[in-house]
């Protein structure tokens, strides 16, 4: 495969990493908590999306003649729902758990987060949702075109991921940089106490944090589920780990850093698999990067101390 093709594949991968990691870095920025349960929200997004998708498809297919159209409509119906549920889930996690554990030692929040993650993941496999076996999420490209250039090709699904990511990131950028509450977030990320002292409603910022970050994770879950055509309860396991690599690499609390780091990691993984595939499994890169980072440059690429 050509370099250009690898690069374009890497960008698609990077998009999913970025969507998950932004929520993590936002939460860390304000609460200084490693929100491991975030991966549970991600997986939940995929599940809710799939359930909504199946439901919508049952509804639309007999209504419209075109199965393709029905499928696409169902996807665009399932995505916002998944995002909404994920967002609410994130907020609930804060309201029910972190709000109380925050004042105590950081270890307590961390351990609670781990427990939450385990709880969520186990519940996802239960029959009242989709059952323990993996499910397909056959939304395909959801109406997106196939892009063919002389240097690389993007399948409709890949185009879908890139488009959704770009739109979501643009919205997040707008919120963070052009609205008052975004300003408040930046202040709170720098120094929650000072921000509160100058009148920033830190609680509202935190809630917004969790809501947006979790929504993005939910979207990531849906997109990955569609891309791999596979939704399964433990799909949060590897991201629970890799997303943190992206976050630390980018510099904890830095949204821009997360974007850069996501791209860097995706490129590293894609090119390693393409050119040195037998050296080590793809996921090992993330682990190596993390160990090296934690030991030698915990600040990451763009982070403050």
């Amino acid at each position: 495969m050509s370099i250009a093709q690898n690069l374009s594949n890497a960008m698609v991968l990077a998009s999913t990493y970025i969507l998950i990691a932004i929520g993590l870095t936002m939460v860390y920025g304000v609460l200084k908590v490693l929100h491991i349960a975030h991966a549970g929200v991600y997986a939940s997004g995929a599940f809710i999306g799939l359930i909504a998708f199946n439901f919508a498809r049952e509804f639309f297919t007999p209504l419209l003649e075109d199965a393709r159209l029905a499928s696409n409509l169902s996807f665009w119906f399932s995505l916002p729902i998944a995002m909404l549920v994920a967002g609410v889930m994130g907020v609930l996690i804060y309201l029910l758990v972190y709000r109380y554990t925050w004042g105590k030692s950081p270890t307590i929040s961390l351990v609670a987060s781990v427990g939450l993650f385990t709880l969520i993941q186990d519940l996802l496999q239960k029959p009242f949702l989709l059952g323990p076996r993996q499910q397909p999420y056959p939304a395909g490209g959801a109406g997106m075109p196939r892009i063919e250039t002389p240097w690389f090709t993007l399948t409709p699904t890949q185009v879908l991921i890139l488009v959704v990511t770009l739109v979501l990131l643009a919205i997040v950028y707008f919120i963070l940089n052009r609205t008052r509450i975004g300003l408040g977030w930046q202040a709170a990320a720098l120094d929650p106490e000072m921000a509160a002292a100058v009148g920033v409603n830190v609680t509202r910022v935190i809630l917004l944090n969790f809501f947006i970050g979790s929504m993005l994770a939910g979207a990531a879950g849906v997109l990955v589920g569609v891309y791999d055509n596979m939704v399964f309860a433990t799909m949060g396991d590897v991201p629970s780990y890799k997303a943190f690599v992206v976050v630390v690499l980018g510099g904890l609390g830095s949204v821009a850093g997360t974007i850069v780091a996501g791209i860097v990691l995706a490129i590293a993984e894609t090119f390693m698999v393409a050119f040195a595939g037998s050296l080590m499994p793809r996921d090992a890169i993330a682990f190596l990067v993390l160990i090296l980072l934690l030991m030698f440059r915990p600040r990451g690429l763009l982070g403050r101390a």
Partner: protein, 297 residues
């Protein structure tokens, strides 16, 4: 009868695992989510020695302890440079890597695991009771080690490290040295448990040592009471026995472990039997009343 013996064997193994994590987390304050990795390393070491090198159980057992201890020293190195919460990530990663090695390297049997590990034989006795006794003897060793550790200078040093690393260094406690000690002891104990596990179960699969198992061990320590001796013992026994006795719970046991961790962190972060927990305070009050009842007010 066999069922209860089996239950008791596993309970003993989990008690040791909980105690081993307790030394690392409770004494030294190193939050680790990789205990299952040490468990697995010990299990595989013992299993491979028995299966592929025809070594008797005794050799495998002690080799597991020594080897896992050494690996523990090595894997403890990141803890020297890495802050508390990030150590969790690092240990998570270690767990993933160890399991991946077991899964993808053929020498360890790959995804199909190791099977037909020979049973150790004790003086020709054929039922499992000697094995049960052996396991609980090992539990006794683990308890002794934990108790003794808490009474020695090393235990004191570990506590200091846990409470405040900078202060510890300021008074001359070598933080790196004691962190590594904690890792070695913790890993060695877990490795021994792994060996016992391997020879009892007679087959090993990489997924038995997955990250989730580390969380289970964590939950035992956390629910019981971090840092105490009685806490992890009780936590391990209760959390292992509960899903067995209540069949409905069995399907939801990981949800239970996770949920219990969350509840504990919210309401009793020191554990059910931790030093300042509601239960312990109640017990102390009752005991005090009984004592003073014997004398004149």
């Amino acid at each position: 009868m066999d069922y209860f013996i089996s239950l008791a064997v596993f309970a003993g193994i989990w008690v040791v695992l909980a105690l081993s994590l307790n030394i690392l987390m409770g004494y030294a304050g190193q939050v680790s989510l990789g205990q299952a990795a040490f468990f697995g390393i010990g299990a595989y070491t013992s299993g491979i020695l028995a299966l592929k090198f025809d070594q008797p159980f005794v050799v495998g057992f002690f080799a597991a302890i020594v080897l896992t201890g050494l690996v523990g020293a090595f894997l403890g190195l990141p803890s020297l440079r890495v802050r508390h919460d990030f150590l969790v990530l690092a240990t998570m990663g270690v767990n993933f890597v160890v399991v991946a090695i077991f899964k993808y390297v053929d020498f360890f049997g790959g995804a199909l695991g190791l099977i037909d590990i020979p049973t150790p034989r004790f003086f020709g006795i054929t039922n499992e009771i000697p094995y049960l006794i052996l396991v609980w003897l090992y539990v006794g060793v683990a308890i002794l080690v934990s108790w003794y550790l808490s009474k020695t200078w090393t235990g004191l040093a570990l506590n200091t490290v846990r409470l405040n690393e900078e202060a510890a260094a300021a008074v001359g406690v070598s933080v790196p040295r004691f962190k590594i000690y904690a890792f070695i002891i913790s890993a060695a104990l877990a490795g021994g448990a792994g060996s016992l596990y391997a020879h009892y179960l007679k087959s090993l699969f990489p997924d038995n040592f997955y990250f989730v198992e580390s969380i289970v061990i964590l939950s035992m320590v956390v629910v019981g009471g971090v840092g105490t001796l009685r806490g992890p013992i009780l936590g391990a026994i209760v959390l292992r026995a509960l899903p067995e006795l209540l069949r409905d719970l069995h399907d939801y046991r990981f949800a239970m472990y996770g949920g219990l961790i969350v509840l504990m962190m919210l309401f009793q972060p020191m554990g059910l039997l931790g030093d300042e927990s509601t239960l312990m305070r109640g017990i102390r009050r009752i005991l005090k009343r009984e004592v003073t009842n014997g004398r004149a007010a």
